[in-house]
């Protein structure tokens, strides 16, 4: 339930220019929450999306090393303009941890990461509400067994 008191599902964007890593993260998170994830290759495109549709994103998972606008700059802009949004910075550079903390990142995900790390993020930040039958990006869960 959001601040307006209405039921609304958490929405996520993943930003990484490495398709293999991005697809792995997307498939893991999609499996974890049964919801479609929006993806971008560049920080600039992600920022444009956030500006145009600010209500369509609750959590940003972005790599630090992405084209046009790097993850640190994207983190800075997101926290300045949308401080309520959660931001997870992923990187292979451990030096960014201090910077990410200072800039208000909610989580720091050091590469290489694996399924457990992504599921921990899912459990930490994704408060999955009860069934939302009319939501376009999600569907009901049915048991097969």
């Amino acid at each position: 339930m959001d601040s307006a008191g209405t039921n609304r599902e958490v929405q996520i964007i993943v930003v990484d220019d490495d398709q293999l890593v991005r697809d792995f993260a997307v498939h893991t998170i999609e499996y974890g929450i049964n919801r479609k994830i929006t993806t971008f290759e560049t920080g600039f495109n992600a920022w444009q999306f956030l500006q145009k549709r600010p209500d369509d994103t609750d959590i940003v998972i972005a790599d630090a090393n992405i084209p046009d606008m790097d993850g640190i700059e994207l983190l800075k802009k997101v926290k300045e303009e949308f401080p309520e949004k959660k931001f997870v910075l992923t990187t292979s550079n451990p030096d960014f941890e201090t910077i990410a903390s200072k800039m208000g990142a909610d989580a720091f995900l050091s590469k290489p990461y694996d399924v457990n790390d992504l599921f921990t993020i899912v459990q930490q930040f994704f408060a999955i509400p009860a069934r939302q039958p009319n939501h376009p990006e999600s569907d009901s869960l049915e048991s097969d067994s």
């Binding site: 490495d18 293999l20 890593v21 697809d23 792995f24 498939h27 893991t28 999609e30 499996y31 929450i33 049964n34 919801r35 479609k36 992923t90 990187t91 292979s92 550079n93 451990p94 941890e97 990410a100 903390s101 990142a105 909610d106 989580a107 720091f108 995900l109 050091s110 590469k111 290489p112 990461y113 694996d114 399924v115 457990n116 790390d117 921990t120 993020i121 930490q124 999600s138 569907d139 009901s140 869960l141 049915e142 048991s143 097969d144 067994s145």
Partner: protein
């Protein structure tokens, strides 16, 4: 701030080996979740199909490595997995694809999948001790 992932002194870019092993773990989780009766939805099924397809295609190269017909491959693939292991991984991928497509699964199929997963987990655990905690909870 939540801190996850590798330790600072082990940070590096993710290569094909990392992706394959992580996707294989995800495949095992998908299989075990299904056996346990966890519910599936449209997006979950799609993720299962995509993940299984990726593993299946990568396992073909891995299998070829054993017979000497593979393309040059990254480092961890030189680990001492045997040919049957890769065939078991491919089999699990096919099983997960079947679930993703909604094909019926009887008790014997579920049992076969459980046994296949157990053997895959044993092999991974033997070859990579760091995966042990994950495999215990998967």
């Amino acid at each position: 701030m939540l801190r996850l992932g590798s330790k600072p002194n082990q940070s590096r870019e993710m290569d094909l080996d990392d992706i394959f092993l992580s996707r294989l773990k995800l495949l095992v989780i998908m299989g075990k979740s299904y056996i346990e009766g966890c519910p599936c939805g449209r997006h979950r099924r799609r993720a299962m199909l995509e993940n299984a397809r990726h593993i299946e295609s990568e396992s073909i190269d891995l299998g070829g490595l054993v017979t000497g017909s593979a393309q040059p491959t990254p480092t961890w693939r030189a680990m001492e997995f045997d040919h049957i292991f890769f065939q078991r991984v491919k089999l699990l991928a096919v099983m997960i694809k079947a679930i993703g497509k909604g094909f019926p699964m009887g008790e014997h199929r579920k049992q076969a999948m459980q046994e296949n997963i157990d053997i895959i987990c044993e092999t991974i655990t033997f070859n990579n001790q760091s995966d042990m905690p994950f495999l215990k909870v998967a």
